[in-house]
Structures are given as C-alpha cells and as structure tokens.
Amino acid sequence: MPFGLLKYGLSRRYPAKKHFGTPGDLKSSYDVVIIGGGGHGLAAAYYLAKEHGIRKIAVLEKAYLAGGNTARNTAVIRSNYLTEEGVTFYRESLKLFRDLSNEFDYNIMYSQRGQLTLAHTDAAVRSFRWRAEVNKHLGVQSELIGIDDILKLVPNLNVSADARYPILAGLWHADGATARHDAVAWGYAKGAAERGVEIHQLTEVTDIVSSGGRVTGVETNRGSVSCDVVLQAVAGASSLLAKKAGFRLPIVSYPLQAMVTQPLKPFINPHVSSTQLHCYVHQTARGEVVIGGGSDPYPLYSTRSTLDLKESLLGHAAEMFPFLAQVRLLRQWAGITDMTPDYSPIMGVSPLENYYLDAGWGTWGFKAIPICGKLMAQCIAERSAPALMQPFALSRFDRLEQVNEMGATAASH
C-alpha cells in the first residue's frame, strides 16, 4: 500500500475514477424526467433504474449535483417519531441506510451513535413517554431515561438545576445515526449513472408543459424535453414548481440555518437535542461540532444568515455545553425548507396526471432519502402508491387527515 501511494504520488495520472460522466445534450424525450438532483431525485432515479428496469431517465438539476438541502443538512437520521405512519416510514428508511455502503460499494460513513432528546418541562416528559411507547410497539428503540443515564451517555452535558431550563429527563433513541450527506447523494448518482440514468447539471426547468390535465414535458434553459412522467423533487422550491404545473400546495418556505465550530477532540458521542431550547448539537467524524435549531421566524426564499438566529442558537448550545462558549465558529449557512402544516411530507400523485410530488420535506427529509426514493420509484413504475406512503398523499389535507408530527420535529432535524 505505501508503495502504491508513492507510485501515484509521483505519477501524473491520478487513479481516482469519475463517479459519473457528463451526459452531453438533452435528448428530445425520456420515459421519466426528474426535476431536482438532490438526494431525493437521485434516489428515485436509482431505484427506478435498478428495481424497475426504467432507464430512459433524465435528472435535471439547475445548479450542481446535490448542492441544495442535501448539501446543507446536518445529517441526523432517526425514526423516533410520534405517529404510527411516521415511525413505520422512517424505521424502513433506517433499515435501508444501514446497508447503503454495501449496496453502493461506496462508503457513506453511516455511524449509529444514538440520539438523545432532552425534556425540560413536564409536558415534554409526558410526550416522551408517549413517543417511547409508540416507538417500542413498532420495533424502534426508544426509552425514557433519567439524569443518571443521561450523564453516562453525555458526561459533559450541563445538567445543573441552576440552568435556565433544567433538564428533567431524556428520550434515548439507540437507533439514531448520522452519515456523510454528500456521499449518500453521490452513491445514488453513481449507481444511477452506471445503469444509464442521465444526470444533467446546470439544467433548470423553466416551465411545465401539459395538455388535457396531463403533463407532456418540460421546458429548460437547454431546450424542451417531452416525457411520460415527471417527478418533482426540488425541496425548497416545491411551491414554485407546482405553480408552473398549475396548482398550489400546503407549503410555506422558511430558511433554516446551521453552523459548525472548529474541530475539537471527540467529546460527544450521540446526537443531543433539546426541543425546549430549539437547539441540537453533535460532533462530526472530523471533530467539528454541528449546531442546528429551528427555522427562521418568517417565510423567505433567501439563504442569507442572520446574527439574531446565530446568537440565540449559540446561547442555547452554550447552556447545554458551557465550554463551547470558548470555541470559534468555522462555517455557517442556510437552506430553504418547505414546511407543511402537519410536519409530514407530501408524496405521490398531484392534481396533474403523471406529475408526481416528492415535496414538503421541511427540516427533516435527509433521513428519508432511501425509503422515499424506493417508494416513489415503485409508485411511478406501478402507477399506484405503496401502502407505506399512502398516508402522506397530498389529498390528506382535503380529507382533513393530517399526520401530525409537529412535536417530534420541534427541534427541526
């Protein structure tokens, strides 16, 4: 191995393989056009090609591959939601995540370190009990733990009774994990491209063409394309694309900000989150402390950062881990998150025939990439929604059958 390295160090040719090529001009027609080259669009393309033999697929991405929310999220993966529909759905995603590196033959750095949510009020303790029972019933590892056990998991957490909001209990979710977010997207892109999927970057969909209530194609900055089916998977631009397709969605778009500190020696193993403080913290494999929290207070399509949000978030992070106050920030950024009123996604058919939606992923859709891609692919290939995704149909709002996950998403990850 060292000799190999030395050889490549001295040679002009770098041995790394390109994961996928540049597909050249757009064809005039495809079986499936996927709008949005983030984790969701790429996963759907991958499973369509791999499991359903549909290969005339174009993924159209207006910027660079997976540079949207897939690149901006804090990579928290968990299934400790509250509703039966939610828990079952995310549980299946975690199962797929665990085997993804093998499936891709590409390391997504999946790391199951557990996730701890803190309760600072009696109401939160009650809701944790409820979540723990629903989770256990559905085969997800969740339990309510006290301060002693919290300290065993996170010895340097500030559990002082003098804190502004003293910690009362925790919801420990041993299934919680994290992964390299870019690698998830690249793994799907590589696997899709190997099976003939064309990934077109710098290709923006500017209009949706339909006739007689059916979508027939899309207009792009590189010309028009006709197709049998369109899948919209554009995260923070769902309402804008839906408008081009001729309908409105139950979505409001808010910026979500996050940041990382300079790298430190490892000191927190699990992911630690507080719904009361609207703040969560975990440490990446290279030692940076990731800090995230709630969305911005009013709707916006701008990924600017604000000092207000940084100040309040850091204040809360420093309450959890006081020594973080001495540490410097390295990077900070924002993404646009499409929030639904019930904090659940929208998957499946839309008012326009053959135009499918993969939307409303708000602040929590990274963890859903594998299962959502798999189910959307099945939905498109078989023209019928698999049972696991049916509760998340757009029509649930007309039926007033929302899937309320607000409590389980309050810390926005």
Partner: protein
C-alpha cells in the same frame, strides 16, 4: 436586528412580531352556500408561497396590534405596512344561512 415599521408602534425589532401568513379570502356561507370541506381545506392549507412581493398579516405581540405588510420574500425587504382597514373597509358578515326545517 431587522426592524419592522409598525403602523401603530413605529420601528420595532422584528422579533417582537408574528407573521401570520398571506391574505386570503375566507369562504363565506353568506356569499356561497355550497362551501364544503374541500373549500375549507383549500382556504386553510393551500398557499401561494410566492417568491416575490407578498401581502401578509402581521401582529405586534406586545400590543396585539394586527396589520398588513407587503414584503419581498427573495430580497427580505419590507416594502410597506398599513392598518387592515385600508383593505377591509366593511364588516364581514359571518351569519350562517338558515338551517332548513
């Protein structure tokens, strides 16, 4: 901090306000007798969520004062704020239609 020009209280920190969503016409049984669940769901849930100039309800929490703001959702500029009676000049009649005997 970003400032919001409140028609009642003048320039205040935007953290003192709540954004309560875009202005919409409520389905009224006094106008249309056939308002069904679907029409209500559309009113409650569906949004324009536009990228550009929007017209929204805002409330100054400390004084419970409700007003209308026009702002740009891409540039984050507040264009104009004004009292609600600039748009709503008449009392809305919520009286439900008589129930048939």
């Amino acid at each position: 901090m970003k400032l919001m020009p409140c028609p009642l209280n003048g320039l205040r920190n935007i953290s003192e306000f709540i954004c309560a969503g875009e202005l919409k016409d409520m389905p009224l049984t006094t106008v249309d007798k056939t308002v069904d669940d679907k029409a209500w769901a559309d009113y409650l849930f569906n949004q324009d969520n536009a990228a550009g100039i929007v017209r929204e309800w805002w409330c100054h929490s400390a004084t419970s004062y409700w007003f209308i703001a026009e702002r740009h959702t891409v540039t984050d500029e507040i264009i104009r704020t004004y009292p609600a009676d600039e748009i709503y000049k008449q009392r809305v009649d919520f009286t439900p239609p008589p129930v048939p005997e």
